[in-house]
Protein backbone atom coordinates (compact mmCIF):
# COMPACT_ATOMS: atom_id res chain seq x y z
CA UNK A 1 0.00 0.00 0.00
CA UNK A 2 1.13 3.58 0.65
CA UNK A 3 4.76 4.34 1.43
CA UNK A 4 3.91 6.37 4.49
CA UNK A 5 4.05 4.79 7.89
CA UNK A 6 2.57 5.75 11.20
CA UNK A 7 3.43 4.24 14.54
CA UNK A 8 1.95 3.19 16.82
CA UNK A 9 -1.37 2.18 15.27
CA UNK A 10 -3.11 2.19 18.63
CA UNK A 11 -2.04 3.85 21.88
CA UNK A 12 -3.72 4.00 25.27
CA UNK A 13 -1.95 6.33 27.68
CA UNK A 14 -2.58 8.03 30.99
CA UNK A 15 -3.32 11.70 31.52
CA UNK A 16 -0.23 13.88 31.81
CA UNK A 17 2.09 11.62 29.85
CA UNK A 18 4.26 12.91 27.01
CA UNK A 19 3.76 11.10 23.72
CA UNK A 20 5.20 11.25 20.22
CA UNK A 21 3.34 9.95 17.21
CA UNK A 22 5.68 8.93 14.43
CA UNK A 23 5.19 9.50 10.72
CA UNK A 24 7.69 8.59 8.02
CA UNK A 25 7.46 8.53 4.24
CA UNK A 26 9.82 7.06 1.67
CA UNK A 27 8.58 8.97 -1.37
CA UNK A 28 10.74 12.05 -0.96
CA UNK A 29 7.68 14.27 -0.67
CA UNK A 30 8.31 17.84 0.39
CA UNK A 31 4.90 18.47 1.93
CA UNK A 32 3.62 16.67 5.00
CA UNK A 33 0.46 17.09 7.09
CA UNK A 34 -1.16 16.03 10.33
CA UNK A 35 -4.93 15.71 10.58
CA UNK A 36 -7.09 15.02 13.59
CA UNK A 37 -10.17 13.00 12.77
CA UNK A 38 -13.28 13.22 14.94
CA UNK A 39 -15.23 10.11 15.84
CA UNK A 40 -17.89 11.60 13.58
CA UNK A 41 -15.51 11.48 10.62
CA UNK A 42 -14.53 15.08 9.88
CA UNK A 43 -10.84 15.83 9.23
CA UNK A 44 -9.14 18.82 10.82
CA UNK A 45 -5.72 20.04 9.71
CA UNK A 46 -3.57 20.65 12.79
CA UNK A 47 -0.02 21.01 11.38
CA UNK A 48 1.75 21.03 8.05
CA UNK A 49 5.22 21.38 6.64
CA UNK A 50 6.46 22.33 3.19
CA UNK A 51 9.99 21.15 3.77
CA UNK A 52 12.83 20.69 6.23
CA UNK A 53 12.76 23.21 9.09
CA UNK A 54 9.37 24.49 7.93
CA UNK A 55 6.30 23.93 10.11
CA UNK A 56 2.97 25.73 10.32
CA UNK A 57 -0.16 25.43 12.42
CA UNK A 58 -3.30 24.33 10.67
CA UNK A 59 -6.90 25.35 10.86
CA UNK A 60 -7.66 23.62 14.14
CA UNK A 61 -5.90 24.85 17.23
CA UNK A 62 -3.90 22.06 18.79
CA UNK A 63 -1.74 21.70 21.86
CA UNK A 64 0.58 19.42 19.94
CA UNK A 65 3.89 20.38 18.33
CA UNK A 66 5.72 19.05 15.30
CA UNK A 67 9.22 19.07 13.89
CA UNK A 68 10.70 18.49 10.44
CA UNK A 69 14.41 17.86 10.73
CA UNK A 70 14.51 15.33 7.91
CA UNK A 71 12.42 15.25 4.74
CA UNK A 72 11.06 11.79 5.46
CA UNK A 73 10.14 12.28 9.12
CA UNK A 74 7.36 14.42 10.65
CA UNK A 75 6.67 13.47 14.28
CA UNK A 76 3.88 14.96 16.38
CA UNK A 77 4.35 15.44 20.11
CA UNK A 78 1.93 16.02 22.96
CA UNK A 79 3.78 17.25 26.04
CA UNK A 80 0.98 16.40 28.45
CA UNK A 81 -1.81 14.21 27.17
CA UNK A 82 -5.40 14.87 28.22
CA UNK A 83 -8.64 12.96 27.59
CA UNK A 84 -9.66 15.70 25.13
CA UNK A 85 -6.76 14.56 22.93
CA UNK A 86 -8.44 11.22 22.37
CA UNK A 87 -8.86 10.96 18.61
CA UNK A 88 -7.48 9.45 15.45
CA UNK A 89 -4.42 11.19 14.01
CA UNK A 90 -3.69 10.88 10.30
CA UNK A 91 -0.41 11.80 8.63
CA UNK A 92 -0.23 12.59 4.92
CA UNK A 93 2.33 13.69 2.38
CA UNK A 94 2.28 15.08 -1.14
CA UNK A 95 4.44 16.18 -4.02
CA UNK A 96 5.13 19.87 -4.22
CA UNK A 97 2.90 20.32 -7.28
CA UNK A 98 -0.76 21.08 -6.55
CA UNK A 99 -2.27 18.59 -8.98
CA UNK A 100 -1.06 15.66 -6.93
CA UNK A 101 -3.16 14.31 -4.14
CA UNK A 102 -2.19 13.33 -0.65
CA UNK A 103 -0.92 9.92 0.37
CA UNK A 104 -2.20 9.01 3.82
CA UNK A 105 -0.82 6.77 6.51
CA UNK A 106 -3.04 4.27 8.29
CA UNK A 107 -3.43 6.52 11.31
CA UNK A 108 -2.81 6.36 15.03
CA UNK A 109 -5.81 5.92 17.27
CA UNK A 110 -4.98 7.61 20.56
CA UNK A 111 -6.94 7.10 23.76
CA UNK A 112 -6.03 9.13 26.84
CA UNK A 113 -7.47 7.77 30.06
Amino acid sequence: EADIYQTPRYLVIGTGKKITLECSQTMGHDKMYWYQQDPGMELHLIHYSYGVNSTEKGDLSSESTVSRIRTEHFPLTLESARPSHTSQYLCASSEFLDNYGYTFGSGTRLTVV
Binding site: I4, Y33, M41, L43, L45, A92, D98, N99, G101, R109
Partner: protein, 112 residues
Protein backbone atom coordinates in the same frame (compact mmCIF):
# COMPACT_ATOMS: atom_id res chain seq x y z
CA UNK B 1 -11.85 30.95 0.96
CA UNK B 2 -12.30 27.36 -0.04
CA UNK B 3 -15.12 25.15 1.18
CA UNK B 4 -16.57 21.75 0.42
CA UNK B 5 -20.04 20.47 1.22
CA UNK B 6 -21.25 16.90 1.27
CA UNK B 7 -24.95 17.34 1.95
CA UNK B 8 -25.62 13.75 3.00
CA UNK B 9 -24.12 12.26 6.15
CA UNK B 10 -25.29 8.81 5.10
CA UNK B 11 -26.24 7.18 1.82
CA UNK B 12 -27.89 3.78 1.73
CA UNK B 13 -28.17 1.81 -1.48
CA UNK B 14 -29.00 -1.77 -2.37
CA UNK B 15 -26.30 -3.93 -3.89
CA UNK B 16 -26.44 -3.80 -7.67
CA UNK B 17 -28.12 -0.40 -7.75
CA UNK B 18 -26.38 2.76 -8.92
CA UNK B 19 -24.96 5.02 -6.26
CA UNK B 20 -24.28 8.74 -6.06
CA UNK B 21 -22.39 10.60 -3.34
CA UNK B 22 -22.80 14.34 -3.69
CA UNK B 23 -20.19 17.07 -3.39
CA UNK B 24 -20.35 20.80 -4.00
CA UNK B 25 -17.52 23.25 -3.55
CA UNK B 26 -16.55 26.87 -3.42
CA UNK B 27 -13.09 27.99 -4.48
CA UNK B 28 -11.42 30.91 -6.20
CA UNK B 29 -9.95 30.08 -9.55
CA UNK B 30 -9.78 26.68 -11.19
CA UNK B 31 -10.17 23.92 -8.65
CA UNK B 32 -8.43 20.60 -8.31
CA UNK B 33 -11.08 18.13 -7.13
CA UNK B 34 -10.47 14.77 -5.52
CA UNK B 35 -12.38 11.89 -3.99
CA UNK B 36 -10.94 9.71 -1.26
CA UNK B 37 -12.31 6.59 0.44
CA UNK B 38 -11.65 5.46 4.01
CA UNK B 39 -12.21 1.92 5.22
CA UNK B 40 -12.46 1.15 8.96
CA UNK B 41 -9.26 1.75 10.89
CA UNK B 42 -7.40 2.90 7.80
CA UNK B 43 -6.15 6.13 6.30
CA UNK B 44 -7.73 7.74 3.27
CA UNK B 45 -7.13 6.21 -0.14
CA UNK B 46 -7.19 8.12 -3.42
CA UNK B 47 -10.10 7.27 -5.75
CA UNK B 48 -9.99 9.82 -8.55
CA UNK B 49 -9.30 13.42 -9.40
CA UNK B 50 -10.25 16.20 -11.77
CA UNK B 51 -7.54 18.62 -12.78
CA UNK B 52 -8.49 19.73 -16.27
CA UNK B 53 -9.93 18.34 -19.50
CA UNK B 54 -12.84 15.90 -19.79
CA UNK B 55 -15.51 16.60 -17.19
CA UNK B 56 -16.10 12.90 -16.60
CA UNK B 57 -13.24 11.23 -14.79
CA UNK B 58 -12.89 7.55 -14.06
CA UNK B 59 -11.11 6.15 -11.05
CA UNK B 60 -10.43 3.06 -9.02
CA UNK B 61 -12.93 0.26 -8.32
CA UNK B 62 -15.34 1.36 -11.08
CA UNK B 63 -16.04 4.79 -9.62
CA UNK B 64 -16.43 7.91 -11.71
CA UNK B 65 -17.20 11.55 -11.07
CA UNK B 66 -18.49 14.41 -13.16
CA UNK B 67 -17.18 17.93 -12.84
CA UNK B 68 -19.94 20.48 -13.33
CA UNK B 69 -18.53 23.98 -13.31
CA UNK B 70 -21.85 25.81 -13.48
CA UNK B 71 -23.24 23.91 -10.51
CA UNK B 72 -19.85 23.79 -8.74
CA UNK B 73 -20.37 20.09 -8.15
CA UNK B 74 -18.28 16.95 -8.34
CA UNK B 75 -20.58 14.04 -7.57
CA UNK B 76 -19.17 10.55 -7.21
CA UNK B 77 -21.01 7.76 -9.02
CA UNK B 78 -20.90 4.05 -9.64
CA UNK B 79 -23.28 2.16 -11.93
CA UNK B 80 -23.61 -0.92 -9.73
CA UNK B 81 -22.82 -0.84 -6.02
CA UNK B 82 -21.05 -3.64 -4.16
CA UNK B 83 -21.28 -4.44 -0.47
CA UNK B 84 -17.50 -3.93 -0.36
CA UNK B 85 -18.03 -0.27 -1.39
CA UNK B 86 -19.38 0.44 2.09
CA UNK B 87 -17.01 3.02 3.57
CA UNK B 88 -16.53 6.71 4.27
CA UNK B 89 -16.12 8.96 1.26
CA UNK B 90 -14.46 12.35 1.33
CA UNK B 91 -14.56 15.01 -1.34
CA UNK B 92 -11.63 17.44 -1.35
CA UNK B 93 -10.86 20.65 -3.21
CA UNK B 94 -7.56 22.37 -3.70
CA UNK B 95 -7.01 25.80 -5.16
CA UNK B 96 -3.60 26.43 -6.72
CA UNK B 97 -1.08 27.16 -3.99
CA UNK B 98 -3.41 26.11 -1.19
CA UNK B 99 -3.77 23.05 1.02
CA UNK B 100 -6.63 20.67 0.51
CA UNK B 101 -9.99 21.36 2.09
CA UNK B 102 -11.89 18.19 2.86
CA UNK B 103 -15.63 17.79 3.06
CA UNK B 104 -17.21 16.38 6.22
CA UNK B 105 -17.52 12.91 4.72
CA UNK B 106 -20.42 10.69 3.64
CA UNK B 107 -20.94 7.22 5.02
CA UNK B 108 -22.00 4.84 2.26
CA UNK B 109 -23.78 1.65 3.22
CA UNK B 110 -24.48 -0.90 0.51
CA UNK B 111 -27.08 -3.37 1.64
CA UNK B 112 -26.98 -6.97 0.39
Amino acid sequence: AQSVAQPEDQVNVAEGNPLTVKCTYSVSGNPYLFWYVQYPNRGLQFLLKYITGDNLVKGSYGFEAEFNKSQTSFHLKKPSALVSDSALYFCAVRAPGQNFVFGPGTRLSVLP
